[in-house]
Each structure stands twice: as structure tokens, then as C-alpha cells.
């Protein structure tokens, strides 16, 4: 074991030494390529039932008694019962995976067997958002999109938008901090001037804001908080000066906006609510398409925490998220890449679809499912292979199996050598995020984790 570790250490040291010479050439070229790309993080809020979505089982061969996995699909509304297990290329999906998302499945890869090491919403969510396991409930480090924006540079009007998803910034430049909004209403407030203040008064206020901070402000800046506040004050002003509000104005009646409302099915029922899955997906797409932002996090559905009422709520709410995501993907595919090359925006967008954890494969006494340590996620993007399924959850009990990173093979009983060599690992969110960063030529070293080599194109 020791010689293996020593070999790895020396190998890493040699690579580091090599990078001293290559460092001026390769990363800059890779960074230039990444700077033309976009990043989307789509969040299913509440903990999704993998059996209904990304990690289903065949009802013909799976029973609660033999597998400790109770599908319960006979309790679902008829449409989901009729849909059953769905196949698309190498993938299989549960009945809540929407047909329109199924049409895009070949462009995505699925990662199974992700161990979350927590059954807490906050911890699981923050683990997937940052790639680092929280301390208690406190997030460690920055959100992945903030890290990416920091590495890419200040290239777009709002480098990082987070719609309905928590965001964290620790040690990243101010421009990488997210504009975090809970709804499109918040976003419009942020991007639209408040007309009830006399413009002459606004100019006078800005005079004060542009002056050197006072001595008390400097004392309050011990941890940089006053500087952050003042920088964000200037950023808030710059949003207004760029007049970005119309991009997100769903009240517009021109042909483009009419088409978008139809594409995202925004109109009837609660779909027009300012934080509905449909509206949030629209916000994310517009931010990416109109080059307002390069890094977008978006909550595409919520209400998945179905400890009870699972049969009625989980599948429709999860499907609604998939539908919203499918609209977003269709929109990106239909939008030509401004940099040319005959590509669509989708081709240059890295996407990660995640939830904080899965749900138990057996029902509780309320016929609901509780929090589960195992998880799956969906990824796509440049530098990533498409249509692959990597990793595996156990056939009995659905717990995550270890994964051989180079092949993506799920390993039920790894040898001591496989574990000590680092070839076989318990896959966690940090491996997923390291993979996305590496695929785009970005630096994942802060995660101290290897990427899933099997997914790298």
C-alpha cells in the first residue's frame, strides 16, 4: 500500500513539475476555450425519488421482498403506470422522466451510485452546490458556478446568476459572487430602475456612493465586508445601466416572447407564478442565450420532499422539473452559437442536473419515502461523453456501490489494492464537479478529488 501511495505521490509531483513548464501554454489555451462556454446547474429541490427518475428498476424483476426496493408504481396516477420503465439508448428512466426530456437523453450521461454521506437537506444541497462537504450546516468554499466564474474571469454583465438556488462565495473575486434571486420578480427588481425616486435625487445619492468611504466604514472592513457591500452597490448600479430587464420581461407581446411563453408553457394555472419551474427555466435560458451570464444555477422544481403523499406528489412534481429542463435544452439547441461553427448553444453548455439526495427505496408507514444516502445525477457538455451510464447502485437496497473512475464500472466488492490506489472510490459530488471542471480545462485541484475519467471525452 505504501509503495502505491508513494508512486502516486511521485507521479503527482512529476506532473506538478511538468506543469511549471507547460503552465504558461496549456492552461491558457484551455482557459480561452472554456471562456467561450456556459455552465448550467439545474436543481431539483427536496430530494428526488431516483426510482421514478434517473435510477429505476425493472418492475418485472424487482420486488420489495427480494431486493429491498419497493417500486410502488401501481399507486401512481394512471399516466405514470402506463409509462412504466422508459428506455432511451443506453439509459433507462423511471415513469416521472418526461417524454420530451427522454428525447434529449442521448445527449446526457447519467452518474449512478453517488454517496451523499448525509440525509440533511441543507448539507446535501450545499455538498452538491460546492463540491465540498459542509461543516455542520455551513457550506465550505464557494458554489461551483462561483468558482468557475472566478476562473473564467469577468466576461459577462452578470457572470453568475442563481435563480432559486443558494449560492456561496468564499475567496472568489466579487464579480463571481452570484446575483441570487428567488423569482423572476426579484430579478426584474434587480435589473429595473426604481422610478419613484427623482433622478436628481438619485444622482445626488450616487455622488455620496462614489466618494471615498468614511473612516467608520474602513473600520467595519476588517473582514472585507464593507468593501464587498460597496462593490455590490456598484454592481447593482451597473445592472441598471446595462438595461437588461427587457430580456426577462414576460409581459412583452412581441413574437419572440410569445414563442418563449409557448415553448416554456408559461400561461395557464400556476405556470406564470414568478418562481414556477417554467418561469425559472425561462430565466436560466434567457440569461445564457442573451449572454447575460456564463454560469447559471436554477431551481427547476420543488416540493419533492414527499415523506407522505408520495403517490400523488412526487411523480408530477418531478416530471414538471424534467419538462422545464427539456424546454430549456430545446431552447439552447435551437439557438445558434454566436461564435459560429454551426454549433448550437447547447453544444457549448455544460449542464449538471442534481438533487440533494435520493429517497428511500422502501416506503415509510405513511406510504412516503424518507431521505436516502444514495443519489444520481445527469450531466452533459463539451468535453464529456454522451449517452453513457456510469456508476451503480446495489440491486438490493439501492445503496451506492464504489466506482472505478477510469471505466465508470460499479464495483460491489473492491479489493484493498483498488481502494488504496485510488482507482476505485466512493463517488460523491466532488468527483462529479471535478469531472465537469476537468472536461472544460478548468482547475479542479481545490476539490482534491479525481474526475470520473470514463466520462471525459
Amino acid at each position: 500500500m505504501m509503495s502505491s501511495n508513494r508512486r502516486r505521490f511521485l507521479s503527482a509531483a512529476a506532473l506538478s513539475a511538468g506543469s511549471l513548464f507547460l503552465g504558461n501554454v496549456f492552461p491558457r489555451r484551455a482557459l480561452a476555450q472554456a471562456q467561450k462556454r456556459r455552465f448550467l446547474f439545474a436543481y431539483f429541490d427536496g430530494g428526488w425519488d431516483q426510482l421514478l427518475g434517473l435510477d429505476p428498476r425493472d418492475p418485472a424483476t424487482t420486488t420489495a421482498a427480494a431486493n429491498q426496493i419497493d417500486l410502488g408504481w401501481d399507486q401512481l396516477p394512471g399516466v405514470y403506470q402506463a409509462r412504466g420503465l422508459q428506455r432511451a439508448g443506453n439509459h433507462t428512466f423511471g415513469p416521472a422522466f418526461s417524454p420530451d426530456m427522454l428525447a434529449h437523453a442521448a445527449d446526457f450521461s447519467v452518474i449512478h451510485g453517488i454517496g451523499m454521506d448525509t440525509a440533511s437537506h441543507e448539507v446535501g444541497r450545499r455538498y452538491f452546490i460546492t463540491g465540498r462537504f459542509p461543516r455542520g450546516l455551513q457550506a465550505v468554499g464557494s458554489s461551483t458556478p462561483a468558482e468557475i466564474a472566478a476562473q473564467l474571469g469577468d466576461l459577462s454583465p452578470i457572470p453568475h446568476v442563481s435563480a432559486g438556488v443558494e449560492s456561496f462565495a468564499d475567496g472568489v473575486p466579487n464579480f463571481a459572487t452570484a446575483l441570487t434571486v428567488n423569482s423572476i420578480a426579484d430579478l426584474l427588481v434587480a435589473l429595473t430602475p426604481f422610478t419613484e425616486i427623482d433622478p436628481g435625487v438619485v444622482r445626488a445619492v450616487q455622488l455620496y456612493q462614489d466618494e471615498t468611504p468614511g473612516c467608520v466604514s474602513r473600520k467595519l472592513d476588517r473582514d472585507g465586508l464593507a468593501s464587498t457591500l460597496l462593490a455590490n452597490q456598484q454592481r447593482a448600479r451597473s445592472y441598471l445601466e446595462q438595461q437588461l430587464g427587457e430580456i426577462f420581461n414576460l409581459q412583452r407581446t412581441d413574437a419572440e416572447m410569445n414563442g418563449l411563453r409557448a415553448l416554456y408553457n408559461i400561461g395557464g394555472g400556476d405556470t406564470a407564478l414568478p418562481n414556477s419551474p417554467e418561469v425559472m427555466a425561462f430565466v436560466a435560458a434567457q440569461a445564457l442565450k442573451k449572454e447575460v451570464s456564463q454560469c447559471v444555477s436554477v431551481r427547476v422544481t420543488d416540493g419533492l420532499d414527499t415523506h407522505s403523499n408520495w403517490a400523488d406528489d412526487q411523480a408530477p412534481r418531478q416530471e414538471r422539473g424534467w419538462r422545464a429542463l427539456a424546454s430549456l435544452v430545446s431552447d439552447l439547441k435551437a439557438t445558434p452559437e454566436p461564435n459560429g461553427g454551426g454549433q448550437s448553444m447547447f453544444d457549448n453548455t455544460t449542464i449538471m442536473v442534481f438533487s440533494e439526495f435520493g429517497r428511500t427505496p422502501l416506503f415509510n408507514n405513511l406510504r412516503g419515502r424518507d431521505h436516502f444516502l444514495g443519489n444520481s445525477c445527469l450531466v452533459a457538455g463539451p468535453g464529456l461523453k454522451r449517452g453513457l451510464t456510469v456508476g451503480k447502485s446495489a440491486d438490493i437496497g439501492q445503496m451506492p456501490l464504489t466506482m472505478e473512475l477510469a471505466t465508470g464500472r460499479g464495483v460491489g466488492q473492491p479489493s484493498a489494492e483498488e481502494i488504496s490506489s485510488g482507482r476505485v472510490v466512493n463517488v460523491s459530488p466532488k468527483h462529479v464537479i471535478a469531472t465537469l471542471l476537468r472536461a472544460n480545462g478548468l482547475d479542479p485541484s481545490y476539490l482534491r478529488s479525481d474526475p470520473i475519467g470514463a466520462l471525459l471525452a
Partner: protein, 203 residues
């Protein structure tokens, strides 16, 4: 946004007296004295120990509401930021989020600018109808005293430390009078400037 902030200034105005042209009292609102505990005998000086207290923080939503009441001479519990706006400003919903976000984010700063516009605009409108001792902008006869009063209401900065701020606020006041066309517009501008300042929002 105006409709979502409940500040019952209208009621306050209705209860207030008509403005009187007498010179108002000079007493400023008291600034709470910071009590420092005595150190034990032979204890090293705290300055030499390089022990830092916790860092500055941003006002929470509750603190913001109570602060606005104090600044505006409003009754306790009269300022209520609606729940959806409070969530955006960081208040936890105790369903998905269980701790208050106290980041002075760009969105928070934009909301503060807008909220400052609403609150200071309402104070401006109410000012001529309020009793002299209830006024926020026109409590004293000189501009400098009024600005110093505004500064102390927002930040607690008084005495020598206030002088540079009053000079700064004077420039804002003059620009506000020029831009807004009235004396009260000058005070309104100074009020909004303080509303969005680190000296008010951090402690």
C-alpha cells in the same frame, strides 16, 4: 415595491401637529454608551493580546425593520417588510432555509436603494406635517445640524467623527436640492445615501 412596504406614515401624519415656526429643542437622540467591563488586576492590555472580536455583520431583516422605526420616529412594530421580500433579503423560511443570509449581495443593495427611496420619500412627504420634535429632516434651523441629526439617527456617529460625514452629506444635500428642486429633496438624498451606506447596514 412601494405597495409592499408597510410604513404607516399616513397615520402618523394625521396625528401630528401642524408645523410651528419655533426654534426646536437642540437635544439629540441619546447614543447608547458602550460599556466595557473592567479587566482583572495585572491582566494584559487587550490591545496587546491581538484577540479579535467577531467581525462586522450586516443588519438582519428584523434589525432593519426596527432601525427604520427608530430613524423615522415611527411606533414600534409599524414597519413590516412583507414575507416574500424578507425572504429575498435573507430571512430564513425555516422550511428550506434555517439560517439568515446576511450577505450584502447586489440584490440586497438594489433593494436597499429602492427601500431607501420609499422610506425617505415618505419621510419627506410627512415632514412638513409633523410636529417639530417628531421631525427627521427639519428638526433644527441649520442644514449642518439637521444632517448631523440624520447621521446620528442612522449610524450613531457623533462628535468629531461626524464632521467628515456631515461635510460629505452637505455635498449630497446641495446636489439633491439642485437635482430635486426643493430643500427636502436635499435631505431625502442624504437620507437615501445613509440608508445604503456601510455605516448603517453593517455593525
Amino acid at each position: 415595491m412601494r405597495s409592499v412596504v408597510i410604513v404607516p406614515l399616513v397615520l402618523l401624519v394625521a396625528c401630528g401637529e401642524e408645523a410651528t415656526p419655533v426654534d426646536p429643542p437642540r437635544a439629540r437622540p441619546p447614543v447608547t454608551e458602550v460599556m466595557v467591563p473592567d479587566l482583572p488586576v495585572d491582566h494584559p492590555s487587550m490591545g496587546d493580546l491581538s484577540i479579535l472580536s467577531r467581525g462586522p455583520r450586516r443588519l438582519s431583516v428584523d434589525q432593519l425593520e426596527r432601525s427604520i422605526e427608530q430613524i423615522g420616529n415611527l411606533g414600534p412594530g409599524t414597519v413590516k417588510i412583507p414575507e416574500n421580500l424578507a425572504l429575498t433579503l435573507g430571512r430564513p423560511d425555516y422550511v428550506k432555509v434555517t439560517e439568515e443570509s446576511l450577505s450584502p449581495s447586489p440584490l440586497f443593495m438594489k433593494f436597499m436603494m429602492d427601500l431607501g427611496g420609499i422610506i425617505c420619500g415618505q419621510l419627506r412627504d410627512a415632514e412638513p406635517l409633523r410636529a417639530v420634535d417628531q421631525r427627521v429632516f427639519l428638526r433644527y434651523t441649520s442644514k449642518e445640524e439637521n444632517l448631523a441629526n440624520l447621521l446620528v439617527r442612522f449610524t450613531g456617529i457623533d462628535g468629531e467623527a461626524a464632521a467628515p460625514y456631515v461635510a460629505r452629506l452637505s455635498r449630497v444635500y446641495e446636489a439633491g436640492v439642485t437635482g430635486g428642486g426643493t430643500e427636502l429633496a436635499g435631505y431625502e438624498a442624504a437620507c437615501i445615501a445613509l440608508f445604503t451606506s456601510p455605516e448603517f447596514l453593517l455593525y
